[in-house]
Amino acid sequence: MTITLDSIGENKKVKVVSISGGWGIRQRLGCLGIHPEDMITVKKSAIMRGPILISVHGNQVALGRGVARKVVVEAE
């Protein structure tokens, strides 16, 4: 069973397994430092199914729910 980023609670740390999307989304996530094998900490979840704020390599990135759903992770 795959766990995706949007189901991870606040202040939890996870490792990226893969990104289930096309070249475009892989590129854009990659640019901001999100690749397979990277560690991500979930900082906040916006209300009303809004975006998720994560911390990766010392930087904060906001991901929309749909995007977070494409990031397959495993718990630390």
Binding site: W23, Q27, G33, P36, H57, G64, G66
Partner: protein, 636 residues
């Protein structure tokens, strides 16, 4: 000598640029596109340099229009040296762009900016070691304070003369083998010469499936294409992932390795700023602070504007009767002169007092780093109108001027999003329309009525957004947005940015204002304005407005500020309430806010979303304006 600044967004690139070039900078478009770069000629060390600030890019792929254009610029324009500006606190991610720049084999130096921030976070960088690994000089700076900037350019100058190129850093052996094989094939067929790039760079781009280079190749039926696919598959088989993922992973690992070998992590100093986000991005407090900040912002703009507007306007309108004493007011000369003065009055006394504080406040918020946080807070709501969080940035810019707002829609990834955001941004009342709302409605009716108009405007935009998203039901790609650290903005840089954005208004709008004003004066002199007014009488009578308003509406298309100015001229007095009733004022204002965008906006729309969609926008806004104004007439 041409020096180009390249770096990721929020690296402080523009701060460095403004330090040396600032007030003399000129924004230009890449040929044929509306992606902009700023450049300036500067005198340093007794020489003249051309310094170019390219848009911030995370990498050099073709996925993003700004990145593609930046890359094309580097390859085409005889650049003498590249200064790669890096946020030292984000070294590992920044190195990914650095590695790609090294692949281009252009003379380069590195500017390690914000080292004070890095130290505060407990990141200590061995600059000498980094310089050795990359093969280029690394200069530390704190751009906001101006530290190290002179030394930076001094070294850039020296390296530019020497044409110093950095090292080629190889990936892991098996991947590098494939790259070398493809490079050899490319060199054999002389393909790299066509694009004027190093062959290893081209090989990497092909393996990354870069659309610009691949598109250009599919047109020629050459067996190189087969080779490319062959090598892509080789990587796919040996690594179990698509070749583009393999290459970007390699680059990522390389960046991480370099980072780990030059960085020493120590204990960070936390300060109050780190806790700011607990409030500003809080699920409840965040929205309250947002509302508060918006309220304060607009209040500030309004109060500063009003304070400056009244005395200035007074001054101008006293001049006209003075001139009337020396020149007969019935003459053509008088008409022309009063026309010119009214045009000047409009520009200086009506728009500028509001535009300047708005743009300045926006520059401060921008440099502070608050704008992406607004996108975060409002993303869920923007989804309701079929867009996502980033669209808020064009909308906010729209309150200043629609032209940069439309250009800012570039940050949205899908064409459909850019179209909807552009149409909606056009409906947001820009500074010109804002002055009409304040000077007419707030002044003659009440501030509450003015607020009501803003709220109505937002409601109409939401409904229009919903309608447009229904008509174009593409799924919007999700938001991926960097939330940068807060930075204390530099007043000097904010002023420089404000000046740059105001220049467009001053050098284009003022002449138009003056010319338009003079033409209206002439029309009145020759009584030709009656012709135009009669032509528009069906419209003006539908809206219940005085007949003379007809010409005003035409001039409003030229430049929105003109509507207010022309209205005063057309009805013959600044005391509007004497001639028009409250209902008429409301109807006029609502019509003017929503109808046809100004000529400058139409020009930008034409370039950004195409002719058909621009015509749709014009029709849509005009019909909307007529409907709303008519309803106002009967309801208010």
């Amino acid at each position: 000598m041409k020096i180009v600044l390249m770096g990721q967004p929020n690296s402080g690139k523009s701060t460095i640029f403004n330090h040396v070039a600032g007030y003399k900078a000129v924004t230009s478009n890449f040929p044929g596109k509306t992606v902009e770069y700023t450049s300036s000629k500067v005198n340093l060390f007794g020489e003249t340099f051309e310094i170019v600030d390219l848009p911030g890019t995370y990498s050099l792929t073709s996925f993003d229009l700004a990145e593609l254009e930046a890359r094309k610029y580097l390859l085409r324009n005889s650049v003498d040296i590249v200064i790669n500006v890096i946020d030292a606190s984000l070294l590992s991610r920044s190195l990914e762009l650095t590695l790609q720049l090294l692949e281009l084999k252009l003379p380069m130096i590195i500017c390690l900016n914000m080292i004070d921030e890095a130290e505060r976070k407990g990141i200590k960088i061995d600059i000498g070691k980094l310089s050795k690994i990359l093969g280029v000089p690394v200069m530390p700076t704190i751009a906001v304070k101006g530290n190290g900037v002179k030394e930076l350019f001094s070294i850039a100058y020296k390296m530019g003369e020497k044409k110093k190129i950095g090292k080629t850093i190889n990936f892991s052996k098996d991947v590098e083998d494939v790259v070398t094989q493809l490079s050899t094939q490319i060199k054999k067929k002389h393909v790299e010469q066509e694009f004027n790039v190093p062959e290893r760079f081209l090989a990497l781009k092909y393996l990354e499936n870069d659309s610009y280079f691949m598109e250009n190749y599919k047109k020629k039926s050459n067996d190189l294409f087969k080779e490319i696919v062959h090598f892509q598959n080789t990587l796919k088989e040996t690594h179990g992932r698509q070749s583009d993922v393999v290459i970007s992973s390699e680059r990522h690992h390389l960046s991480m390795n370099i980072y780990e070998s030059v960085v020493l992590l120590t204990k960070p100093h936390t300060s109050l700023i780190d806790y700011l986000d607990n409030i500003l991005m809080h699920p409840f407090l965040g929205y309250i602070s947002l509302g508060l900040i918006f309220y304060l912002f607009f209040n500030l703009v309004f109060s500063v504007g009003k304070m400056v507007e009244e005395p200035l306007l007074d001054y101008f309108y006293r001049i006209i009767p003075l001139i009337g004493r020396s020149i007969d007011s019935e003459t053509l000369l008088f008409s022309i002169i009063s026309g010119i003065i009214q045009g000047l009055a409009g520009g200086i006394a009506i728009v500028l007092p509001y535009l300047f504080p708005f743009l300045f406040g926006l520059a401060i918020l921008e440099d502070l780093g608050y704008l992406p946080r607004i996108a975060f807070l409002l993303d869920a709501f923007l989804h309701k109108i079929g867009l996502h969080g980033k669209s808020i940035i064009p909308f906010i810019l729209g309150y200043g001027c629609t032209v940069p707002a439309i250009m800012a829609t570039r940050i949205l990834e899908s064409g459909r999003d850019r179209f909807i955001a552009s149409v909606l941004a056009t409906m947001i009342p820009c500074a010109a329309r804002m002055t009409i709302i304040f000077a007419l409605v707030a002044f003659y009716i009440s501030p509450q009525a003015a607020l009501a108009i803003y709220i109505l405007n937002i409601i109409v935009i939401i409904i229009s957004g919903k309608i447009l998203s229904r008509l174009l039901p593409e799924v919007t790609p999700g938001m991926i947005l960097e939330i940068p650290a807060y930075h204390i903005p530099s007043i000097k840089v904010a002023l420089a940015k404000t000046w740059l954005r105001m220049k467009e208004f001053i050098f284009i709008a003022w002449p138009l204002l003056i010319v338009g004003s003079t033409i209206l004066s002439l029309l009145q002199y020759y009584k030709a304005d009656m012709l135009i007014n009669n032509f528009f009488s069906p419209l003006t009578s539908l809206l219940g407005l005085p007949l003379v308003v007809g010409t005003t509406l035409i001039f409003g298309i030229l430049r929105k500020e003109l509507s207010m100015l022309m209205l005063i001229q057309a009805i013959g007095t600044t005391n509007v309430i004497a001639v028009m009733s409250a209902t008429q004022i409301m109807t006029f204002t609502i019509f003017v806010i929503f109808y046809v965008p100004c000529v400058a906006t139409i020009a930008v729309l034409w370039k950004e979303i195409g002719s058909k969609r621009t015509l749709f926008t014009i029709a849509f806004t005009s019909i909307l304006a007529i409907i709303l104004a008519t309803i106002t007439r009967f309801v208010y």
